[in-house]
């Protein structure tokens, strides 16, 4: 479905995740983060960039991988994106949430 985020018309799924990550920009990230109750800082964007790079390289994202990224440890990752950091950070980064097969 279509949604207007930060003045831009983008495609999102039922759970509000962008379905085309090319439509992402920092303003969109800020507005999605606000919906999640998070105010983004440069520190958040460092993590978001890492997540987007991993997604582009088709590397499956896990909490462990973020912890070993050298960018942020797992405790800080939770502080930056409380309650389900991987799915929240993914949504703000404009990529799909981590899923299983069903």
């Amino acid at each position: 479905m279509e949604k207007i985020i930060a003045g831009a018309t983008v495609q999102v799924n039922d759970e509000g995740y962008l379905t085309d990550h090319h439509q992402w920009n920092r303003e969109i990230a800020n507005e999605i983060a606000e919906e999640e109750g998070i105010e983004l800082t440069e520190r958040h964007f460092e993590v978001i960039t890492f997540i987007q790079d991993q997604y582009a390289a088709e590397v499956p994202l896990t909490i462990r991988k973020i912890g070993k990224s050298g960018i942020v440890d797992i405790k800080e990752f939770y502080q930056l994106f409380p309650n389900g950091p991987l799915k929240k950070a993914s949504r703000i980064a404009g990529i799909p949430k981590p899923v299983s097969c069903i």
Partner: protein, 413 residues
């Protein structure tokens, strides 16, 4: 003679070996397969061992039964792969040269990755069911258990057979009901993902299953440690889930030989082209089954479909032709839901599991993404198909390696 070497005689390696032995020019190529185990395990059967539905004899056979004539089996542990020298070194120091290498070394549990998991309680009141030993020990525990808090837990993705923990919870509900102690057992399903079902269609159609079976769910749980003294698992954001019996799926990792060889990612999975199944780094290395890092399920059905695809690409590579066969991530799984019912799911990289019929449009006979009795019997018939058809490289009628769209309601995707 040129040498084609397969590492690992599990599902993927054995199926590929049998396909190759039927198609390869045996005057030019010698095929050798290496595995450290004498035994071949039917791993889907591990799910049924804890509940006394299968016994040991259902899941084990001698591995050499499945080695076709003319192929060589070496029973040894692999020390290291040297892609530059095109050799594989074995534990006893022997070096084996190859022209083409196939890595099929699978994945295994790594309970040591979580603090406290692999301690005194391991195999006492903390069990896995992804190993033969774990499944048997858990069965012996359950035979005497009178009830309490059972936690079914997934450490982190990716794991082999992602639906198995959910099937385990469903079968446990059935098992304790049969034993007459269901009211004394509290079942909680703990997952690092957003829920038991994460794909939209499956969530919508199957969400009822957990509440119907009184299975509690704790989502978004990333485990930090196991507190075996107070019998609790604790997440990074300090959520605590108490247990009397912890059935966990530990971190899954590729073989340590992959780490020793320096050719894997941080979980020892080998970077692999998701369509051609060729190594991303070395042209003369192909990777099949759980050993790859490709974004589909780690499952026997995937290994089966990959084997049919990669055999053609290996033959093309031998003739210096482009690799034309493209894998679509196809997986096909029976999901046990207990009480003699199951459902079938069929999906690939692009299409999530959806409803419809399988394998023939308008006929089925198997319904997709819907509980019924027929898929349950299908799952049990599958054991025979595995030992007698799949491992030996015999085609299963009507089942194609890439996903068929016939009979599926794909408009919802």
């Amino acid at each position: 003679m040129k040498q084609l070497l397969i590492l690992g005689a599990g599902s993927a390696g054995t199926m590929l070996l049998n396909h190759l032995s039927k198609t390869i020019n045996a005057k030019e190529w010698q095929i050798t397969i290496i595995d450290q185990s004498k035994l071949h395990y039917y791993q889907p059967g591990f799910l049924f061992l804890p509940f006394d539905i299968y016994s040991e004899k259902d899941v084990i056979k001698e591995g050499n039964k499945f080695i076709p004539p003319g192929c060589k089996l070496i029973q040894a542990k692999i020390e290291k792969i040297f892609p530059g020298e095109q050799t594989v070194k074995l534990e006893d120091g022997q070096e084996i040269r190859y022209d083409i290498l196939v890595i099929a070394t699978g994945s295994q549990i790594a309970p040591q990755e979580v603090e406290g998991m692999l301690g005194e309680s391991w195999q006492k009141n903390i069990f896995d069911f992804y190993t033969f030993e774990g499944a048997v020990n858990l069965r012996n525990f359950l035979r005497k258990w009178n009830g309490g808090k059972m936690v079914v837990h997934i450490t982190e993705m990716p794991i082999k057979c992602p639906v198995a923990p959910l099937e385990f919870a469903f079968l446990a509900d059935w098992y304790f009901t049969r034993k007459g102690i269901r009211n004394k057992v509290d079942i909680t399903y703990v997952t690092p993902l957003s829920g038991a079902f994460t794909k939209p269609i499956a969530s919508k159609k199957l969400g009822y299953l957990l509440s119907e079976k009184s299975i509690k769910i704790v989502p978004d749980f990333a485990i930090e440690r196991v507190d075996t003294v107070n019998k609790k698992i604790i997440s990074y954001d300090d959520i605590q889930v108490p247990y009397d019996l912890l059935v966990t799926v530990p971190t899954n990792m590729g073989d340590e030989a992959i780490a020793r060889s320096g050719i894997g990612d941080d979980l020892n999975f080998v970077p692999t082209n998701k369509h051609t199944l060729q190594s991303k780094t070395y042209d003369n290395i192909f990777v099949v089954g759980d050993a790859t890092d490709i974004p589909t399920s780690k499952a026997g059905s995937v290994a089966h479909f990959e084997a049919e695809i990669v055999v053609k690409n290996i033959l093309s590579y031998m003739k210096n032709q482009p690799l034309r066969e493209s894998f679509d991530g196809h997986a096909n799984c029976f999901v046990e839901t207990g009480f003699n019912k199951a459902m079938l799911i069929d999906f690939n990289y692009d299409h999530q599991p959806t409803d419809g019929v399988f394998p023939i449009k308008g006929i089925g006979p198997l319904p997709l993404l819907k509980e019924s009795r027929l898929p349950h019997w299908g799952k049990h018939a599958f054991k025979w198909i595995y030992w007698n058809m799949l491992l030996k490289g015999r085609k299963v009628p009507f089942i194609s390696p890439n996903m068929s769209k016939d009979g599926k309601n794909l408009e919802e995707n």
